[in-house]
């Protein structure tokens, strides 16, 4: 399985993602934002970080960078594109995912472990996954998912919510909503479910000595699904 991680100026989770993908068997290539062509890929990842210093709006500049034309074409052809954290912000700014990510409700940069519940497993990211609730890390200032009433209705109708912030047992409530996101949304799909954006960082949960192993479960399952 071939994967590509795009590095934008200001990305800082690109190498973590590279380590994670390789650990679970992907042949990963790092791709510079100024390149025009994507290498042959089964998965393209937009990593976390602070592309372009979060100028204007998070992800807005990166969404217009040269490589994004190829990423848009790849996604439109059904290619799997996953955006983590700032990568999620880039995907909404690029129009590949609906909605937008606003400043966190309480204006704090949040850096902590959270639990997220998988909403639906009928997609190539979570099919066959053995767990329902994952402990992942979040680190963001703008993760407050927002969209219009009409859009949230459409997202719901198409079952596009990927992950909810929850407690350890998977209960979805305001207490476990770290940033004010509508409906506790931590991650969403596009309609076709080949594009996934999420605020949590599974790549930070792949080493039992450093963190947990819920990221390992995610990546192991993902590569098996893509095979």
């Amino acid at each position: 399985m071939n994967s590509s991680v795009i590095t934008f100026p200001g990305s800082n989770c690109d190498r973590d993602m590279d380590v994670a993908l390789k650990k679970f068997g992907f042949k990963n290539k790092m791709v510079w934002h100024d390149d025009l062509e994507l290498p042959k890929s089964d998965l393209v990842v937009l990593p976390g970080g602070f592309s372009y210093g979060d100028y204007l709006r998070c992800g807005s500049m990166a969404s217009k960078s040269k490589i994004m034309k190829s990423v848009l074409n790849f996604a439109k052809g059904g290619g799997k594109v996953m955006g983590i954290c700032n990568g999620f912000q880039i995907l909404v700014e690029a129009g590949l995912l609906p909605g937008v990510l606003l400043r966190n409700k309480y204006l704090e940069f949040i850096c902590k472990n959270v639990f997220v519940k998988v909403n639906d497993k009928d997609n190539s990211y979570f099919r066959n996954i053995q767990k329902d609730t994952f402990e992942f890390h979040i680190a963001h200032n703008e993760g407050n998912y927002f969209c219009s009433k009409e859009q949230i209705q459409e997202i719901d109708d198409n079952n596009q919510i990927a992950l909810f912030y929850s407690d350890k047992s998977g209960n979805i409530n305001q207490e476990n909503n770290p940033n004010g996101s509508i409906k506790n949304i931590a991650g969403i799909f596009n309609k076709e479910k080949n594009v996934l954006g999420m605020m949590p960082h599974p790549e930070r949960m792949i080493d039992p000595a450093l963190s947990g192993e819920d990221g390992s479960i995610f990546f192991e399952n993902l590569i098996n699904n893509l095979k």
Partner: protein, 80 residues
Amino acid sequence: MKVSVIITLKKDVLDPQGKVIHRTLDDMGFNDINEVRQGKYFEIDTKGNDKKKSEEKVEEMCKKLLANLVIENYKIIESR
């Protein structure tokens, strides 16, 4: 032609920064405020001298980059 444009959050969008500014102003003694909404202001110095054309270009810039129309509105307030 210098085109000035302001970008504001749409009415239904939560503005936590505006809320904090409101609260701080309130603490400072400015107690007669109903609401504070924070926005952005751009001054774009375009090369042409045709007002209509420059404004059209800036409008396109707003739609494509400067504003996110899911949450923001834009308004050209001056061209000179």
